[in-house]
């Protein structure tokens, strides 16, 4: 499927949608949003890209294997949970950075955990979509 309008629009939309997904991810702690929804939005944007061009290009523009993405996300989430153990606190206790970081706001292990969720959701959705779409192209 190749449509000039779709591919041109996608080129403009993709960065916006990805930025938006990050925005949703970051605001999640206080406003509607979070890693889950953010991850879905990001996946939708990449799916759009894959439809507008092809899966091969979508994979290349990701620069990282989707399954690696899943692994990274799981590691990050697990790591966020393990970190408090070093301070003698129970698994998954949320730790907060004393001072807020510009743009991101207050940083905690809940946030890094959410980033992990984001990565897993993106990885899982794209693994499924890309694999199926490749099956399609063959």
């Amino acid at each position: 499927m190749s449509s000039l309008i779709l591919s041109a629009a996608t080129r403009l939309l993709l960065p916006l949608m990805l930025l938006f997904s990050l925005f949703i991810l970051i605001r999640g702690h206080n406003e509607p949003g979070g890693g889950f929804i953010g991850g879905l939005v990001a996946s939708a944007s990449m799916a759009l890209y894959a439809i507008a061009y092809d899966v091969q290009r979508a994979r290349e523009s990701l620069h990282i294997n989707t399954i690696t993405l899943i692994a990274l996300g799981l590691l990050l989430a697990l790591g966020s949970g393990l970190l408090p153990l070093f301070s003698g606190l129970p698994f998954l206790t949320v730790l907060w950075l004393a001072d807020p970081v510009p743009v991101l706001g207050e940083i905690s292990t809940a946030f890094t955990f959410d980033v992990g969720v984001y990565l897993v959701v993106v990885g899982v959705t794209l693994t499924i979509i890309f694999t199926m779409a490749e099956e399609e192209e063959n």
Binding site: N30, G33, G34, L40, A71, V94, M132
Partner: protein
Amino acid sequence: MLTAVLSGFILALVAPFLHRLARGFTGWLIALLPLGLFIYFAGFLDPISRGLVFTEYQMWVPSLGVNLSFLLDGLSLMMVLIITGVGALIFIYAGGYLHGDPNEGRFYSFLLIFMAAMVGLVLADNLLTLFVFWELTSISSYLLIGYKHSYADSRAAALQALFVTGTGGLVMLAGFILMGIAGGTLEISALVGQSEAIRESGFYVAILLLVGIGALTKSAQFPFHFWLPGAMTAPTPVSAYLHSATMVKAGVYLLARLTPVLSHTDEWRLIFTTVGLVTLLIGGFLSLRQTDLKRILAYSTVSSLGMLVALLGWNTKIAIEAAMLFLLVHSLYKGGLFMVAGTIDHETGTRNIHELGGLLRVMPLVALGALLAGLSMSGIPPFLGFISKEVVYEATLAYTSEDWQLGTLEGIFTLVEMIGNIIFVTVACLLFFVPFLGQQKETPRHPHRPPVSLWLGPVILGIISIILALLTELPALPDIASVYLIGPAAGVVYGEPILLSLHLIPPAVVPMLLLSIATVAGGIGLYFALPRVRRLIDALDIGERYGPERLFAQMVVGLPVFSRSVTLLTQSGYLRNYVAIIVGTLVTLGGYTFFSRVALPVLGTIDVYFYEVVLAVVILVALALIVRSSSLFFMIVALGVIGYSIALLFILYGAPDLAMTQFSIETLSVVLFVLVLYRLPNLAQLSSSRARLRDALIACSAGGLVTLLVLTITSRPLLSKLNQFFSAASYAEAHGRNIVNVILVDFRGIDTLGEITVLAIAAIGVYALLKLRTDDTIGDDTESYEDMVAVEAHAEKEKESKS
């Protein structure tokens, strides 16, 4: 001590990266860790020989009584020194043996995990902590046996070992829990004081059998012995380390550790002496018929482990001393012999004794290692093996008892020991004479002089054996074996301190010495008669054809057949059937509970807004179109309309998170559906009107029930305190105002962790189904597509359940 245990795990994480830097030197480099641990623990020899014990205690799961408590006494010290000392040599050896292997880094990781787990196992004072380390050794053994995972027999052997030791471990866990109930604590050091209570608790025999099965499977005792020879498909460093020097001794260690708690009963003596002696004989006989160097060694290891178990079962003071000494001696010589066998294999490309000969000139230092180990195995002075054999004989000969029953048992025991020892001598001859002497033969690979790393281990272990033996006779120097190693270890097992004095030179011509001489003579005689004996054993064919291994093989084949028949009974493979069953169950059970317990809601007036009506109409129209349509594509788009309408409803009722999730999921589902759709055939036939009626009935009853439930719930005041709690706690405790997200990442973070793990597994499942299939049948098989859609629907459901 905790640091000492953890250091191995930590190094395991970085080992593959280290290997990229160090290349050929990785083995030497990693060996520094076990060597460091060896030196560290050797520092405890003196205080422990003076009767001190060291403990360390860390809470782990206090609610279950599980603590990271460690205990360093004579027994654990000796084990730790064997594990780290032999470990250091094994890492050096592995560096030479695996040189150039593409997965070498991974190998070091596995081996380090094993070493750390094994150190943890022997240091653990808490039964459940011990169990965790125990299972870790089983798992790392599984990974190491299956290291060459592209070979089917390698995988099968790995699985077999895991099945046997893993099942044994679970049985043992049940025994541990019973022991905890009977003794009131899980700390082994505290259980020692409770041994009276445990023996009289009524659980005693059950505990003995359950824990016994755990120990016997791990130490490859009859009838569980068969996994050990199978495990020989592992690379030789693994066989030398796990399957002769350390892991298989874990069962023996456990029996020794629990001797003060559980022994001194007829049951103990009966079970373990019998099993041990039977294993000793079977392992010995089976070792004689083998032609593969490693399998010969494996069966003779089974035999030696049988000797250890029998000695611990016999449970007298001298038997315990003999067991501890033989444990040390066996680790020294058998580890060395395995390394020799591996080097021969590495250099010549074969381990078959019929294809080997005359290697003495090519690898004199390896031959020296084999000679030292073989002499110790045969029990010839001045090796520690000689002293050990004397003490083993003394264990059954020392007390010639008046009681004729006991006397007969002692006689049988001595006879079996002697047969076992004779076979050891024969095996030692076989391993030295055949490959190294005689004419050099044509081998698959032309042998070269092996590098230092491949002969260092056996030679050092052999020299240690001589030094330890000589020190028993040199008054000017400390008698390390008696005073620092065996004495303290045996004292722990016996329950009171033992002042041990071993001697290389027997004080007089005692019966033991005569037995020793007869043993060596018998062994050499048997060596020369071996071809005839082999034919005899082959004719009898004990063990392998009708033995437990066959039973296991049948189980492995039978289990999938059984599970397939069960699956066929319950799984039709049609998604519609599953949905019908799930929804039907929900409606029946839910409806029954609802109508039998809950009064129907009284409906008040309900305010209906215009936009609600509009959305309802849109949904109903889309629904009607789906039901009437015969085009799959159309149905999916219409389903999307319903999904978006529901998302709009969520927004109207103040659930933005839910709505956003619903929107994204809906979009992605449509994309997925469309991708699958291309491959689906057009609907060949539409369901009959009867089937439609049935489906309509199921759908309407489900919808009706849910509507009723919602009306009932909303018609009465909400009693749940969850809402209040989360509203109040969300910002105060978790610094977040979005309750939904705070619940996901904070209050119920562990659920989320579980769910993303499930998601990941689902994605890998889809990937594997589509990418890794070997037969290309999916294209024309609609049923497989249903499966695929089921997987995908599962993943979707997971996502939806999140919101």
